[in-house]
Symmetry: C2
């Protein structure tokens, strides 16, 4: 692991910058240090579907793959910790533990993608929003954010959220406001919020039939 130290460097991107274009050669692999980036696919007529969201600690890149088939865009100011591809692959072939870890990451992503398929294919707008908010809460708690009364963050605009959830931005806005009116969420401003009723949020996510109340 310490060998990685020698070949790493940092790259920064401003909010809105495109980090990688679909089809780009992947000359480095990287991990997100700060900020939020999105993976998305655009259809020829302009319809967009986000296929991944990169928060700090997430990984970009794949061994033995020349290019990627989606765009990577910095949604906020982003700092990446980059490793040149060549030395990284050398490391990969000499230290078996690394390739095992990468396999785990790929399989985790696959599981996440399949859960998202259920959301996209079968959940209602309300369930999609609630699931998304729950995911934001979970990820930020893991990162040690939003603990005491500190507000949580929506790292995406309504428009970006709509592209993640397969909705329109108007529907996203309406559903977020519905959760607000019902007293499930409280908004400090457009991006910052708190969860008032954790259980109602979970029930709304559709991931549980009975609200999760077991004895």
């Amino acid at each position: 692991m310490q060998e990685l130290e020698g070949i790493k460097s940092y790259k920064s991107f401003s909010a809105g910058d495109q980090i990688l274009w679909r089809g780009d050669d992947l000359t480095y692999v990287a991990s997100v240090v700060k900020g939020v980036a999105t993976l998305s696919k655009t259809m020829e007529d302009g319809r967009i579907q986000m296929v991944g969201l990169l928060l700090p600690s997430d990984f970009i890149g794949r061994p033995d793959r020349r290019s990627i088939d989606f765009d990577v865009v910095a949604t906020s100011d982003v700092t990446l910790c980059c490793f040149q591809r060549k030395p990284f692959e050398r490391l990969l072939s000499t230290v078996p533990h690394v390739s095992q870890r990468l396999m785990e990451i790929a399989l985790d992503e696959l599981d996440a993608a399949r859960d998202w398929m259920v959301l996209l294919g079968r959940k209602t707008a309300r369930e999609k929003i609630a699931t998304f908010v729950e995911m934001m809460v979970r990820r930020q708690h893991i990162a040690g954010l939003g603990l005491d009364q500190e507000p949580l963050i929506l790292p995406l605009t309504r428009d970006e959220i709509s592209n993640y959830l397969g909705l329109t931005l108007e529907t996203v806005s309406r559903q977020l406001n519905a959760l607000k009116k019902e007293g499930v969420l409280r908004f400090i401003d457009r991006r910052r919020f708190e969860v008032i009723d954790v259980e109602a949020l979970h029930t709304a996510s559709g991931d549980d039939s009975d609200g999760g109340v077991l004895s």
Copy 2:
């Protein structure tokens, strides 16, 4: 590779049999020899989303994972070529080439899952159906089927297709019949069909803005 020969065995399942249950311990990894199996997730209230379709040559199982988070069901009579987990993992750690190949498989699945996310999140019912039919054509051509005037097969019922595409079975039926009425497809019976107008099918899939006519 020849080492694998020593630890392999075959298992058969009848149409409708459940091959693996969500949460099952994975005591073996396997590859589909014959038949069709589905990977699917069921929500507590019964909504179903298929997250994968296994045709001959496809692989089940993942190294270093105890269990899976979806059901695997045989949709037709299925024969699997199975490898006991333990010896397989031993092989995996001694022959580096194998783990590399598994990584590739996982990354291919991830790419496929992301393409499916676009379909589920952004495509219309007509586009979903056309994309699905195109995929069936492609996969069967690769397998050497449906070449001269031999008909292609829909390996799933309308209901199963609807669960793959995030639609209802009625919508699947209507859209397939629409493509039939338009002269894009011809049906020999409920399962067997031919593509009359390949280009119209591709246009309907939404994967190309202008019908793919280049020069």
